[in-house]
């Protein structure tokens, strides 16, 4: 019940109808994929959604190549464009002014906060990040990533992360993902969540596997069906 309440408070609680979520997590844990899917799901419901690329370490590898496609699906996407920057990479990246003020925009805000523990500190640069009543910081976990492969590893990771309000089980093995590996992820992640006192918000699964799992995973966490967009961000 508490999990349900947590998940739906913004939508149903009458306090606010804004959804404001920041997706953080270990490098390559699937933050961008989960954030994109969340933003598109909300847009599908007819909501006004802004998706914000907050990776200032490696903007060359994140949402930038997908910006046009995502915009065409009705999202407002705040991310650099190639022609706007001189030398993506170690030449020094700055936070776009528009991104810094993202939390002041109307509608739902989905923040994709790149690059692990260090990247998560980018959130501190956002105006209103400390006071926004609707902001939820969600940690994306994939247990096939060796650094977050066990309950102990996850607990150690959470200790480094700073603020975490909810956890997403995004366990997968790319094209080799099976229902079993997702459920195994659910077991490990839920145990880590129980021991850290942070709720599990959802388990994600690509659409075909989500259909096989059903609306809840083996531990009762809601299942979010996702489509894979990030492979298109490479080549």
């Amino acid at each position: 019940m508490s999990r349900f309440f947590f998940f739906c408070r913004s939508a149903l609680g009458g306090i606010s109808t804004r959804v404001v979520e920041a997706y953080t997590g270990e490098y390559a844990s699937g933050k961008s994929e989960v954030a994109i899917n969340r933003a598109l799901d909300l847009a599908q419901e007819g909501r006004q959604v802004t998706l914000v690329d907050l990776d200032i370490v490696e903007p060359c590898y994140t949402l930038r190549p997908l910006k046009k496609m995502l915009s065409s699906k009705g999202l407002a996407v705040l991310a650099w464009e190639t022609r706007e920057v001189g030398g993506l990479g170690e030449t020094g990246n700055v936070l776009r002014a528009e991104n810094r003020w993202a939390l002041k925009r109307p509608g739902d805000i989905i923040l994709d906060v790149g690059y692990g523990v260090e990247g998560a500190k980018t959130l501190n640069l956002l105006e209103g990040a400390k006071t926004d009543p609707d902001l939820r910081v969600l940690l994306v976990l994939n247990i096939t990533r060796p650094m977050t492969g066990s309950v102990e590893d996850i607990l150690a990771y959470i200790r480094q992360m700073g603020r975490v309000d909810g956890i997403i089980n995004n366990t997968h093995l790319g094209d080799e993902t099976s229902v079993e590996i997702i459920q195994q992820g659910a077991r490990v992640v839920t145990e880590a969540a129980r021991r850290s006192g942070i709720p599990v918000v959802a388990t994600t699964a690509v659409r075909e596997l989500a259909a096989l799992i059903g609306p809840e995973d083996c531990l009762g966490n809601p299942v979010r069906a996702i489509d894979r967009y990030m492979p298109g961000a490479f080549w």
């Binding site: 490098y27 390559a28 490696e58 060359c60 590898y61 030398g87 993506l88 990479g89 170690e90 030449t91 994939n142 096939t144 990533r145 060796p146 650094m147 492969g149 066990s150 590893d153 997968h172 093995l173 790319g174 094209d175 080799e176 490479f234 080549w235």
Partner: protein, 363 residues
């Protein structure tokens, strides 16, 4: 993750290429990494520095790549399995220590994640560091270079690189690229011992037992000589060792080459696209083959020449302006096969582009 052993048994995992390298170096019992940050190599350092303290390994960040290269050699001289990783302009700076490793037969291991050039170029991707990694530095290119194509190979060949280096005492390179560094892909990580891979232990170059000159030859390590003849004698000796080693180390993959009218030749990540293209073309009835040198130095010369001798045309696909093609032309000198280019310096090459090019050539 165990506190004593980085890997136990086998585990299917989902990782970026840079992380794979850090884990493989742990599995190969590497003692210390020396490095200086550069994209797209950075996460090799990031993950090594996160993992090393858990398993009693060390790391030193130096002031630049020149220093990172030389400190890696210092680690080797002290009998520690030492490695470094760099890319692009960092690779350029490291040529002097790499050349010294050739001169003193020091088994340094370096992971190169190619980025676009010349100069700072892009941080993203290329295959433009082939010439520099195989033949850079003054001297004769007495190096071993493995060009990987998948995350599984990054794991396998990083482990192998340490063994090859310490067995033959030539500097050894794992030549990756920015795409492989950042790509996410599954692979199996394993404890080499459980697969029957014997990890060759390092040994110090100095302070060996016995009296130097009496019980054993003295450890005299030089990279400078007085006269031409002295140096000539040493280099000739090294070249003989290298020629003897070459057939033991050279590796390649060849498919569908027996009846091929055209063979697509590629290395590294482009070889993936090449193999996909060749398989699709075969299904359509085209007589095409696939040849991939895994070692770019030494080149699998015998096998290359065999394929070149019976194939009318090679299509050389690479993300550089003919750096692989130059090696192939030298290796297959005298063969009459025509070498056609599909050169895209600093750009990825897709299977579709290769298919289109092959169809244009074969009609």
């Amino acid at each position: 993750m165990s506190k004593d052993k980085p890997l136990e048994g086998e585990k299917r995992v989902f990782m970026t290429g840079n992380e794979v390298v850090a884990w493989a170096a742990l599995a190969a019992d590497a003692d210390i990494m020396f490095g200086y940050p550069i994209t797209p190599q950075n996460e090799i350092m990031h993950y090594w520095t996160r993992l090393a303290p858990k398993f009693g390994r060390d790391f030193l960040q130096t002031e630049d790549e020149l220093s990172a290269g030389f400190t890696t050699l210092g680690g080797v001289l002290a009998g520690r399995k030492s490695f470094t990783a760099t890319a692009g302009p960092g690779n350029t700076l490291m040529q002097e220590p790499m050349s010294m490793a050739e001169a003193m037969r020091l088994p340094m291991v370096a992971i190169i994640t190619q980025r676009g050039g010349p100069s700072t170029g892009t941080v993203i991707y290329s295959q433009q560091e082939v010439t520099m990694t195989t033949l850079g530095g003054n001297g004769e290119g007495l190096r071993i270079v493995y060009s990987t194509a998948t995350h599984q190979e990054l794991f396998d060949y990083t482990i192998k690189a340490f063994n090859t280096a310490w067995k033959y005492r030539f500097p050894t390179f794992v030549l990756g690229d920015g795409y492989q560094s950042k790509m996410r892909e599954s692979l199996t990580m394993y404890d080499p011992a459980e697969r029957g891979i014997k990890i060759i232990p390092p040994e110090p170059y100095f302070g060996k037992p016995g009296v130097p000159g009496v019980d054993r030859p003295p450890s005299q390590l030089r990279n400078t000589y007085n006269m031409e003849e002295e140096l000539y004698e040493v280099v000739e000796h090294y070249l003989r060792d290298y020629s003897k080693m070459a057939p033991e180390v050279a590796e390649y993959h060849a498919y569908y080459v027996d009846d091929a009218k055209l063979v697509v030749v590629a290395h590294g990540v482009v070889a993936r696209a090449a193999l996909m293209a060749v398989r699709e073309l075969r299904e359509e009835g085209y007589k095409v083959g696939y040849f991939r040198p895994v070692t770019l130095r030494p080149l699998p010369e015998k096998e290359l020449r065999e394929v070149a001798a019976r194939t009318p045309k090679f299509l050389v696909a690479e993300s550089a302006n003919g750096q692989l093609a130059r090696l192939l032309k030298e290796g297959a000198y005298g063969c009459t096969t025509e070498m056609l280019p599909l050169f895209r310096p600093g750009m990825g090459i897709t299977p579709e582009e290769i298919i289109t090019e092959v169809k244009k050539i074969l009609g």
